[in-house]
Subunit: 311 residues, 2 copies
């Protein structure tokens, strides 16, 4: 452990960055086929909204949240058939939030990952409904006995995901984010905003892995704390990327936060300060995994990835 | 039973219309206090979205769905502390759908029950988020152990409500409704649209009462079929009211469906034909309750109310 404080244990023999990238791609592919199966096109005219749900949910992306759900569940040898359903559910929530975020009344984005946003491809009403239906379907997936034979586990998963994505979590964070330009948030306020908006869903991905594994509340909390730290590191790294990289690298407009008058971690701490905070959060995230030994190497690599990625 | 085919058994001694109205008002009041308790204002700036959720959810209305959930659960002597939580959850879903329906990209309504709609009172982004958060909170409420000590029951409630409100139910019905002017629906297509858009949530209110009561799938189906019949009767009666009453009576603009170019049951069947269909659906709904005897008198009165109300 003597080198652990210098940097996250991401370079152990079994989990070179390549191994992490391979696992990320592998779980992303399995998540895609799970989402594809969970969202079949119906024959009736309501197919339009399902088509829009599929457009929103099957459009790729890193699938970081599914990776975290599956890798956390892997710690407890949960069958992939179960953890991939949880991964699909959390990704449905993430994708619905992107669809609604992109709406003209919210961020008003025409493009997402280089493709027209849902309201541009279809129309605004369809985008609102597709987001609503993805949000709803996430809970249908969790509540289905195929996710876990024990009803108490299924209900706990629903409670976890609802808490993380509702007014006290993601939606509350989006609300604060919309008001951020007028709120004059201090450092803690900015951290709280990011933890609510992004961290809660990243953390709950990890928590649900432990819930699926029948773990104690203490272990659920431990994985949640890992997720919260890595989520904030991820977000700060995003702010750093926003000012230090080009649009070609990130695949999205850069410098956008500054243009929107929103305070970022880079504004507050400077580029070096922000990088250092992200680094120490990633280290803290890794430290929380000590009790799992090598079995948690992929999760450690994920924390490292959060702060070293170029997009 | 010899008079049962002539009209619904709504006039039995214990459930004169007055008794039904009293029960409706009583359950509405208890639903309001339950919603009030379930949606406390937090101290942080995310209070804005919770305030909008409260504005949307505590604004009254008939509370027909809560009445059906509680009255169905009453058949099986379910404690009100449990059934009122289910009532609050289904009302959250109903209210979120109204908030999103009222948005400019959807029905573009400025007023609901005489008050500014959520996006008029706050703004569009807040209305989108408040709808999302109400939808999410409904599942949080169902998944909480306070709703039922058995996790399998809680998960079943979540599965029921998600199925009824997602792409295969309410949202799918809204999608079809938005396309209705161009779809050239036949009678069955119009019934299917209404069953999805309105009937599924009314039916699931009844179904969840049976699920809370630990009833067999057959009994859950039976109460669901009652709800589906009465929901369609309710909707047809709405079409009748839309052309035969004044705005002062219904509290909303009348003749609106015709103006929107949407086919209604009155267009298809004429005023008398629509009235007769509503009547026979209400009778069929009541017939499904035979095995419950007098205990179901309030539910019979509700079916009668659906077709005799003036607003």
């Amino acid at each position: 452990m003597n080198s652990a404080s210098a940097q996250p244990q991401a370079a152990s023999k079994n989990t070179a960055p390549d191994a992490f990238q391979a696992a990320l791609i592998d779980i992303a592919a399995d998540t895609n086929s799970t989402l594809d199966r969970l969202l079949p096109l119906p024959p009736g005219p309501e197919a339009r909204v399902v088509d829009a749900m599929r457009y929103a949910a099957l459009d790729g992306g890193k699938r970081l949240r599914p990776f975290l759900a599956v890798s956390s569940a892997d710690l407890f040898d949960v069958p992939r058939a179960r953890s991939l359903r949880v991964a699909a559910a959390v990704e449905m929530i993430h994708c619905y939030s992107l669809v609604h975020d992109d709406l003209p009344a919210m961020d008003d984005d025409d493009l997402r990952r280089g493709r027209p946003t849902v309201h541009k491809k279809y129309d605004e009403a369809t985008a609102i409904l597709a987001g609503d239906a993805l949000l709803t379907e996430a809970f249908a997936v969790l509540a289905d006995p195929a996710t876990h034979p024990d009803g108490a586990v299924r209900a706990a998963l629903v409670a976890e995901l609802a808490r993380a994505s509702g007014w006290a979590g993601m939606v509350g964070g989006q609300m604060i984010d919309l008001m951020a330009a007028t709120l004059d948030l201090n450092d803690d306020g900015l951290k709280r905003l990011q933890n609510m908006k992004t961290g809660c869903i990243i953390a709950v991905s990890c928590r649900m892995g432990a819930v699926l594994g029948g773990q104690s509340p203490a272990t659920v909390e431990l994985l949640g704390a890992y997720g919260m730290d890595m989520g904030l590191a991820f977000q700060i790294a995003d702010d750093v990327l926003d000012v230090s990289s080009t649009a070609a690298e990130t695949g999205k407009a850069t410098g956008k936060d500054a243009a929107a008058g929103k305070a970022t971690f880079v504004d507050r701490l400077g580029l070096t300060g922000a990088r250092n905070l992200a680094q120490s959060l990633a280290e803290q995230a890794c430290k929380r995994l000590e009790s799992f030994g090598n079995k948690a190497d992929l999760l450690r690599a994920a924390a490292m990835f959060a702060i070293t990625r170029r997009n």
